[in-house]
């Protein structure tokens, strides 16, 4: 994977990476991080999301919060494509350490305007070393 090519950082824009390392619900960080991403999407920057450590729990399928009386915000990740946030990097090792596989994650897709609105997956499974390269290619890293 050629990170530098994938994250061009056109003139006047910065490469923003939102790092998600914490599980949802136990603390508010995941929810309020998502709020930053949704607002930030209006600024036309080059946005990527990284999920590793417990952050991978944010996007697992089948979340049902009825019993804890909290809002289930996991469906909102599926709206990210509408906000043109289409690069969600998920670390393979973080999944494996937690007994998860990519099949345990929600289907998060976007419609590619340049490809006749073809539906494409937003989630890109990367290795830990690829994740470190992705971090190194950013202008701003916000970690919640």
């Amino acid at each position: 994977m050629t990170t530098q090519e994938e994250l061009p950082g056109a003139s006047g824009t910065k490469r923003f990476l939102y790092v998600n390392r914490r599980a949802p619900y136990g603390t508010i960080y995941a929810l309020e991080s998502l709020e930053v991403v949704l607002i930030g999407a209006a600024f036309d920057q080059d946005v990527s999301l990284a999920f590793f450590d417990d952050g991978v729990y944010q996007i697992v399928k089948g979340q049902d919060t009825k019993g804890i009386g909290m809002k289930n915000f996991s469906p909102t990740y599926r709206a990210l494509g509408d906000y043109e946030v289409t690069k969600l990097y998920v670390e393979k090792e973080a999944l494996e350490e937690r007994g998860l596989s990519p099949d345990d994650l929600m289907d998060i897709t976007y419609e590619d305007e340049d490809d006749d609105w073809a539906e494409k997956p937003s989630i890109r499974i990367v290795s830990r070393s690829e994740m470190t390269e992705i971090m190194a290619a950013q202008d701003v890293i916000l970690s919640f």
């Binding site: 790092v19 590793f52 830990r128 994740m131 470190t132 971090m135 290619a137 701003v140 890293i141 919640f144």
Partner: protein, 102 residues
């Protein structure tokens, strides 16, 4: 582009420090602040983590946080440089990006 990583968690309570080291590239800098400075002390169960990367990462600990926790500079692992807040500012300025491991 080298990154400045800041870690503020004790390595005995959370795996944050280990995760930071696992994701740091050779040439990156790691600055231990707040409870993160406990990772800088000699002879702990976490010392091995540092030993494995001492040399290919630039390691720092914030002096004010060490002193507040009763850690003398003598007990700081060799290879870890002690900096003050001004040094923290310099490290941020010298690296293109800061990543806070919160």
């Amino acid at each position: 582009m080298p990154i400045l990583h800041t870690v503020n968690k004790s390595p005995f309570e959370k795996s944050t420090f280990k995760s930071c080291l696992d994701h740091a590239r050779p040439g990156d800098a790691v600055l231990l602040i707040e409870d993160g400075v406990y990772a800088a002390t000699k002879g702990t169960a976490a010392a091995g983590l540092i030993a494995a990367r001492n040399g290919d990462l630039a390691l720092y600990a914030l002096g004010a946080d060490l002193a507040a926790r009763g850690i003398s500079e003598k007990s700081v692992i060799e290879g870890i440089s002690v900096v003050d807040y001004g040094g923290f500012v310099d490290l941020v300025a010298e690296h293109d990006v800061s990543q806070a491991w919160l």
